[in-house]
């Protein structure tokens, strides 16, 4: 375990050292003044003011804050709203794009976390999707639902079709297939090890709601058909409410 941590921290540090970039942008303040904060949040105090006409170098971004270097080599943070008021070297207004509804329609990757019910048992899901075209996406999800008697794990791969990708509230249909793994609770079933693996098919209906920047809220319903070794097939219902980030 410790070795894994060491490796990861080493990776993080190498990532950091490689992130020193040569590309920086210089912008000119066109407002009467701009407040410079000591940190990337409005709670951090203002320690400097830059006046109209001064040039600053934009170093990096954290959420809606931008780290800038002033003429006297001091560094501080300004808001995105203030940066959008500045002018670039050609005298044009600087425009830092913020995620928009248009970006939402053009997203490539989406990562989501869901909380929900899986046939009256609480479940947690993670999903990652790759958006091929405006309408079609492939999604891989993992669900863990812990009941009183058993633990269910689902690994599903699905194709989603968004009918109206440009709408803020965008409905979608999904069709998926995957595996369900059921492990009985060790405290109840002493013999243990009666793990059942079954195939499952899924039909889903859901909707995405574009919140702002790169955030989405998702609500979905899925009907699962679990193909068991026993004679009868099992039908399960899953409801999920989740939060997603897109890139």
């Amino acid at each position: 375990m410790l070795r894994v941590f060491l490796h990861l921290s080493l990776m993080a540090f190498t990532l950091l050292s490689s992130q020193v970039r040569a590309d920086t942008a210089e912008v000119q303040i066109s407002q009467a003044f701009v407040n410079v904060h000591t940190g990337p949040a409005s709670g951090y105090p203002v320690f400097q003011v830059i006046e109209r006409g001064e040039w600053v170098t934009v170093l990096k971004r954290r959420t809606n804050w931008f780290k800038v270097m002033l003429g006297n080599k001091q560094q501080g943070w300004i808001t995105q709203a203030d940066l959008n008021q500045t002018k670039n070297i050609t005298g044009e207004k600087t425009q830092i794009k913020e995620g928009s509804l248009a970006n939402f329609a053009e997203r490539d990757i989406e990562l989501a976390i869901f909380a929900g019910t899986f046939d009256s048992v609480n479940g947690l899901s993670f999903a990652g999707s790759w958006v091929w075209t405006e309408n079609i996406a492939t999604e891989l999800s993992y669900t863990q639902a812990l009941g009183d008697f058993s633990k269910n794990e689902l690994l599903m791969l699905r194709i989603q079709h968004s009918m109206f990708p440009e709408w803020r509230l965008s409905p979608y249909l999904s069709l998926g297939a995957g595996l369900v793994r059921t492990t009985p609770k060790a405290s109840l079933v002493q013999s243990g090890d009666e793990v059942r693996n079954s195939d499952a098919l899924e039909l889903g209906l859901g909707a995405r709601y574009y919140l702002n920047r790169n955030f989405i809220i998702r609500l979905e319903y899925k009907n699962l058909l679990v193909i068991t070794d026993r004679d009868e097939q099992q039908e399960l219902n899953q409801w999920n409410l989740g939060f997603a980030v897109f890139f």
């Binding site: 170093l59 050609t90 243990g192």
Partner: protein
């Protein structure tokens, strides 16, 4: 029409196009450039600005597993900052459950096997930060913040997985722009029936960690 008026109109007709043509020719002829501007076009390209919304870190601490004494805790976490005050976090931790007082005092058969004593959890949480400054001395100051977190996840202990709700609070000291020292306190709440009837257990974990922005 009066003859003077007719000649006036005629004059106007003659003058107007020439006036127009003069105007257009004057706009067309721009004065020659003295210095050619050699400005390299450098638009702000969002992709060129390094965005540091993720934070990855390790933590070490102590967890008090209800009925199973105190144990050391080691973990890893990944944070994504959504806004200046809201963040989501995934964390994973491992510990080893100790012995119950009954096991220690009676000297009898242990409740759990060594494998079942392994305690591991993951949780996903949403947090809210309150930013400020911390003055170590009068002139030595660090940016810091206090935060509250709530989330859900899974704990594996006693051979079973348990749906877990976590609530927590913490304190971050931003040592530099990218290096963060964190102190966290978390309550991991789950139902357990290991030592008798099913009950809700509270497992308090305290940890000290270091994380970096990337």
């Amino acid at each position: 029409m009066e003859p003077w008026f007719r000649s006036f109109l005629l004059g106007l007709l003659l003058v107007t196009p020439s006036a127009f043509s003069q105007q257009t020719s004057s706009t067309r002829a721009t004065p020659p450039m003295v210095i050619e501007p050699k400005v390299e076009r450098r638009d702000i390209n969002e992709a060129d600005i390094d965005t540091e919304d993720f934070e990855i870190g390790v933590f070490f601490g102590s967890i008090s597993i209800e009925d199973f004494s105190n144990s050391s805790l080691t973990g890893l976490r990944l944070t994504y900052h959504l806004t200046e005050s809201v963040f989501t976090e995934a964390s994973y931790g491992v510990a080893e459950g100790g012995q119950t007082s009954y096991e220690i005092l009676s000297g009898g058969a242990p409740f759990l096997t060594d494998e079942e004593r392994e305690y591991s959890y993951y949780d996903l949480s949403l947090g809210y930060r309150f930013s400020g400054e911390t003055f170590i001395t009068q002139n030595w100051v660090f940016n810091s913040d206090f935060y509250l977190q709530a989330g859900a996840g899974n704990t594996e202990f006693g051979g079973d997985d348990r749906m877990t709700v976590t609530i927590g609070a913490g304190y971050r000291l931003l040592l530099t722009d990218w290096l963060v020292l964190r102190f966290d306190g978390k309550d991991q709440i789950f139902d357990s029936e290991i030592i008798g009837p099913k009950k809700t257990t509270h497992n308090l974990a305290f940890s000290l960690g270091l994380s970096v922005f990337f």
